[in-house]
């Protein structure tokens, strides 16, 4: 097939309209969400004292941080799904959750504490946190990668890494409602480590899956 023939063929296919990447991404995430929810309620579930915990601002802060991570990662990944886009000017979105965490840590520092800092940081659930967040995020990561395949990212590994953050953000939101460690120090340590793990998996998978 010579190039003129190819051009003619492409023009004949002009009526085909692809859906926007954002739409496909949302659809994929909505399809995968039940899987993560079933895993969460089957194995973990809400913490028993969740009604009282909700009055603790540090419990609520966990959701602000994890949801901020998920939402800003969605914005960045949609931006990066365009071939001419780079992280420049958009990377700062990812500092929003980090900023919230820093604010939380400084807030906690200023309050009188019953437990020493290291005890709060180590917490009681670090192992389950490091297991649950990556596992809960896997279905969402797969969905995010499938959705983003619809785009054309210039750097597949970077786009995959952001997809990892996105899915870790949602998975951590679920996990936060189970975990009884509310100290921002615990969140900054273990949630961040778990997110970094998922981000690395996303980068690796993205470098293979997101090439167009």
């Amino acid at each position: 097939m010579d190039t003129d023939q190819l051009i003619k063929t492409l023009a004949a296919d002009n009526s085909h309209r692809a859906r926007p990447v954002g739409f496909v991404l949302m659809l994929a995430l909505l399809a995968a969400a039940p899987v993560s929810l079933v895993m969460f309620f089957g194995e973990l579930g809400f913490r028993p004292d969740i009604m009282t915990a909700m009055r603790n601002p540090f419990f609520d802060l966990k959701f602000a941080v994890t949801l901020a991570l998920a939402v800003s990662a969605i914005a960045v990944s949609l931006h990066l799904s365009r071939p001419e886009a780079s992280l420049r000017g958009f990377g700062w979105y990812l500092f929003i959750p980090a900023g919230l965490l820093v604010a939380g840590i400084s807030g906690e520092m200023m309050m009188p504490q019953r437990m020493p800092m290291m005890t709060r940081l180590v917490g009681n659930n670090s192992k389950i946190c490091m297991t649950a967040i990556p596992l809960l995020s896997l279905p969402l990561l797969a969905a995010a990668l499938i959705g983003l395949r619809h785009g054309a990212p210039a750097r597949p590994a970077v786009a995959g890494a952001i997809a990892g953050m996105l899915s870790a953000g949602f998975a951590a939101t679920l996990y936060a409602s189970h975990c009884t460690d509310d100290s921002p120090l615990f969140v900054a340590t273990w949630y961040t480590l778990a997110t970094a793990l998922v981000t690395a998996i996303g980068a690796l998978a993205g470098s293979k899956m997101l090439k167009y």
Binding site: M1, D2, T3, Q5, L6, I7, K8, T9, L10, A11, A12, D13, N14, S15, H16, R17, A18, R19, P20, V21, S81, R82, P83, E84, G151, A152, A154, K211, Y212
Partner: protein, 181 residues
């Protein structure tokens, strides 16, 4: 240059709103620029330039299948050159070359540049034969025999909708096969 970019952007906007003739004109207009840039990129990497047409076809397919990622409020040329650059780098990398491709290779093509002769392209044609029979028949009818969608539908006793689906699927799987190889 500026004029050219604006013309391309206008054509792409018309194409997106359903004007296939504008789309055809746009692809015809960008092809010589892509071809010249592909040859320059190959030459700079010390590769034979006779593969340039494969790269051009690869770029055109990607442009077609990813055109929904173009923002209609942005100029078309930077988007096009980003895809072209990506495909050129990809080709060189698959040949084991790590090479820096300058975006200006594409942007700086002069409109008055002498047209380069077209080298034959083999990859798309070779992959065409590995497609499912229906997709291959439809693609061949439209590409090689220049039949319309209507005539192709009549010829294979398909509905026009089925021809359109087979055509799009065929182009998508052709692209996927090119990526694998």
């Amino acid at each position: 240059m500026r004029e050219r970019d604006e013309e391309w952007t206008d054509l792409m906007r018309s194409a997106i709103s359903g004007d296939s003739a504008a789309y055809h004109r746009l692809l015809k207009a960008v092809t010589p620029v892509l071809r010249a840039a592909a040859r320059r990129g190959l030459a700079r990497a010390g590769q034979p330039v006779d593969q340039s047409e494969d790269i051009v076809q690869d770029i055109l397919l990607a442009v077609h299948l990813k055109r929904h990622t173009w923002d209609a409020n942005a100029p078309f040329a930077p988007w096009l050159f980003a895809i072209a650059r990506n495909k050129l780098i990809d080709t060189l990398r698959r040949r084991g070359r790590r090479i820096f491709v300058d975006i200006d290779d594409f942007a700086e093509t002069l409109p008055g540049e002498a047209p380069v002769e077209t080298a034959p392209a083999g990859e798309v044609a070779a992959q065409l034969n590995t497609l499912p029979a229906r997709q291959r028949d439809v693609l061949q009818s439209i590409a090689v025999e220049s039949a319309s969608i209507k005539d192709t539908a009549k010829r294979f006793a398909m509905s026009e909708g089925a021809v359109r689906v087979a055509l799009h699927r065929g182009l998508a799987s052709l692209t996927a096969k090119l990526r694998e190889n």
